[in-house]
Subunit: 123 residues, 2 copies
């Protein structure tokens, strides 16, 4: 990630989460909003939806970009994405808080650069 | 992507887009909603926000997961994410429609598997 980029994107895979942690709309929503605040992001808008028979999709639009979650309670799995254009957001802190909040037994994280600008050196 | 996974995630980087294509809230919103319909996804909810002095963040929650956009008109750049748990959504079509809608001069695409389940073979 040495070349200039406009945003960072953390893809977090949470495995082996208890069913109940992934299927309560109110709990999932309140955890994501709390963690948004704890990492110092600025909330702009949010939408959370409970699917039948199970599973939640949620999005927090933040001034820095977005935080999303999709849960598959029947598989103990949640996919979380944190996309930010503010370099001061602490991804290690976000990872720790999210893994803890959903009691994941195991997790994987990837962090990608988004909007990698090509630096052109004129001749 | 041979092992079982719950979702697919396309990360699309659009470069060299005209400024105006990335800075009209109404145009960005109507294009994303139209393309959501054209790829056969089911809209659940949506949020679009115009930042000052420029830039748009938008999210369409779909029954299949989400479609998001963040634009940097001053850099001619947009980051688009399509996350789906329905294998029938055509990512090649989505890519073509999105690149065309925003008149990107150049683009990059990555497609990732999300929720890769470990297959355990009992001894």
């Amino acid at each position: 990630m040495s070349s200039p980029h406009l945003g960072r994107h953390m893809l977090l895979e949470l495995f082996d989460c208890p069913y109940a942690e992934l299927n309560s709309l109110e709990d999932v929503r309140s955890r994501l909003l709390r963690i948004t605040d704890e990492i110092g992001a600025t909330r702009v808008n949010e939408n959370f939806h409970h699917f039948s028979p199970q599973g939640i999709s949620g999005v927090v639009i933040i001034a820095e970009s977005h935080l999303t979650i999709h849960t598959w309670p029947e598989h103990g799995y949640a996919a979380i994405d944190l996309f930010t254009c503010d370099a001061s957001i602490d991804y290690d802190l976000a990872e720790r808080l999210l893994v803890g909040a959903f009691k994941a037994g195991r997790h994987e994280r990837q962090t990608l650069a988004r909007g990698q600008m090509t630096v052109v050196h004129p001749a």
